[in-house]
């Protein structure tokens, strides 16, 4: 009778991940160029160009280092955030509405929860690529010490996932992409500018600072900067990591609900 037993897909989330890899094999060229070019351009313009002005005005450095060295790890965490936010908005809309690839998946033995985990595994992979390229550029600019700064890569991945999980949960509830603009304009862009990437959060008005502490990017920047500068101590690191993991956990729980509601109803 074994021959007639229906075969249930093993490791369904891995199959979802495979789908993303297969698509990326067609589209990676442009994204590799931008993930390399973006840190090179930002570090030379803001780190070197603007940095000359900042350093001349602050002989003691920012947090004790040159502006380039201060800025680079912050940008690393920010670019993880931006990559994650992008990968968790438009591609989700495509899977649910535009191309309905997720709908196609759940007509096979793959369940919505596997779509959630496969998607997150894919975002983590993308984040690893982006963060590694970014760190490579930082080494080339002399903005981080090899090899101790390598720990910044998993920190960046964690930062990105802390955005990806909640945002994809939200994206799965949307019918079209109009609200994504709001996420980027009122969420991602202000975080990019105010969460300690370009200047220490202590520069903000005192009443805004607690708000910054609540955002995942603040903790991501703190971890990434601590790793690059070698100033991280274990207890603070654990607190930052804990906050990020909390965001990821809540995001996954919400995604499991919203993906199921959207795909099986």
């Amino acid at each position: 009778m074994a021959a007639t037993m229906p075969r249930v897909t093993r490791w369904p989330a891995v199959r979802v991940f495979e789908h993303h890899v297969m698509v990326y094999r067609r589209t990676w060229r442009g994204s590799i160029v931008t993930s390399f070019l973006s840190p090179v351009l930002f570090l030379s313009a803001m780190g070197l160009g603007l940095g000359t002005l900042v350093d001349a005005n602050n002989p003691g450095g920012i947090a004790g280092v040159t502006y380039l060295v201060f800025l680079a790890p912050g940008l690393l965490a920010s670019s993880a955030m931006q990559t994650a936010a992008f990968e968790s908005t438009y591609p989700i809309m495509s899977g649910m509405v535009w191309m309905k690839t997720y709908e196609a998946m759940v007509t096979s033995p793959i369940a919505p929860r596997s779509v959630v985990f496969g998607q997150l595994a894919w975002v983590a992979t993308r984040l690893t690529i982006v963060a590694s390229v970014f760190l490579g550029v930082m080494f080339a600019f002399g903005a981080a010490t090899f090899p101790s700064a390598l720990i910044a890569v998993p920190f960046a991945v964690l930062t990105g996932l802390a955005f990806a999980a909640p945002i994809q949960a939200f994206s799965a509830t949307q019918k079209n992409d109009t609200n994504f603009n709001a996420i980027f304009r009122f969420g991602i862009t202000p975080l990019f500018i105010f969460s300690g990437t370009f200047f220490p959060v202590t520069q903000l008005p005192i009443y805004l600072q607690p708000i910054a502490w609540l955002t995942p990017l603040y903790h991501g920047v703190a971890l990434s900067r601590g790793a690059a500068l070698g100033t991280l101590d274990l207890p603070t690191a654990l607190i930052h990591i804990g906050v990020l993991i909390a965001f990821i956990a809540i995001g996954i729980a919400a995604s499991l609900v919203t993906f199921r509601r959207r795909l099986v109803s």
Binding site: G49, Y67, I193, F199, Q203
Partner: protein, 260 residues
């Protein structure tokens, strides 16, 4: 002679306004998107101009916010026009087939080209007006000439929309938009936006001086800081010529794409 080079200007006259009407209708549903576009340069002004500005100190005798505000206006004008004329237009061209529907009415290709560029311009002007109000309120405008910064930003928007639209007509798939990013990001970062052009070695400085956004930043910064000089007219001329070249390419390419 000029009419022969740019035949669409008399061609796409009154009817082009209908396409603008269409976009107004569409955006009545998504007014929040338009409204939100105003905040992006504002965040940059507060964060970079004032927050980071404390670390930078003064630049060429200006506070950093005074220095960076006109550049942010110029880049906002460019980015807004580019976004509308690339992503949005590509969607209408390839997926929504909006223009195929338009072309089965008395409207022609020239009307589409002029209408879309005009719409991008109107949107950009709204943003520029809003941003200029903020600049005046924060005391970052040092001269009454700053009032002219709005029409100057319109020129930047016109050039960017025309060039953006003409690039869109060459785009085949979404991934090609990485190229838009590859062009606009360096313009954004290196057009004397965040630091003065004197920071560059001579060879690079001359190169930057030939780029469109630098001309735009130079023009608006001249107006808001009251450093009026003949070079500002060259800036205007540069942007106008660029825009007209873009328009000519657009109408030719659209004819090729839509009237097969």
């Amino acid at each position: 002679m000029l009419l022969r080079l740019f035949p669409i200007i008399p061609f796409g006259s009154r009817r082009a306004g209908r396409l603008v009407e269409r976009n107004v209708w569409v955006y009545r549903h998504g007014w929040l998107i338009i409204f939100s576009g105003f905040f992006e340069p504002l965040f940059y002004l507060l964060g970079i101009g004032f927050g980071l500005g404390k670390l930078v100190g003064s630049v060429n005798g200006l506070t950093y916010a005074q220095f960076v505000a006109p550049a942010l206006l110029a880049t906002a004008a460019m980015n807004g026009a580019i976004y509308d004329s690339t992503f949005n237009m590509f969607f209408k061209l390839k997926f929504a087939k909006t223009y195929d529907a338009v072309l089965s009415t008395p409207l022609g290709v020239g009307d589409i080209a002029v209408g879309e560029v005009a719409w991008a311009l109107i949107r950009g002007t709204l943003y520029s007006l809003g941003f200029m109000v903020v600049i005046f309120m924060l005391g970052l405008a040092l001269s009454p000439w700053a009032l002219l910064a709005v029409p100057a930003a319109m020129l930047i928007g016109f050039a960017a929309a025309a060039i953006g639209t003409s690039c869109t007509t060459f785009i085949r798939k979404w991934q090609d938009f990485d190229m838009v990013f590859v062009v606009t990001l360096p313009l954004f970062l290196f057009s004397a936006t965040f630091f003065p052009i004197t920071a560059y070695p001579d060879a690079i400085r001359i190169l930057v001086e030939f780029t469109p956004l630098y001309r735009g930043v130079h023009l608006i910064r001249g107006l808001t800081t009251g450093q009026i000089e003949p070079m500002l007219l060259v800036d205007c001329l540069y942007l106008i010529v660029l825009g007209l070249i873009g328009l000519a390419i657009v109408s030719r390419r659209l004819k090729f794409l839509l009237l097969k």
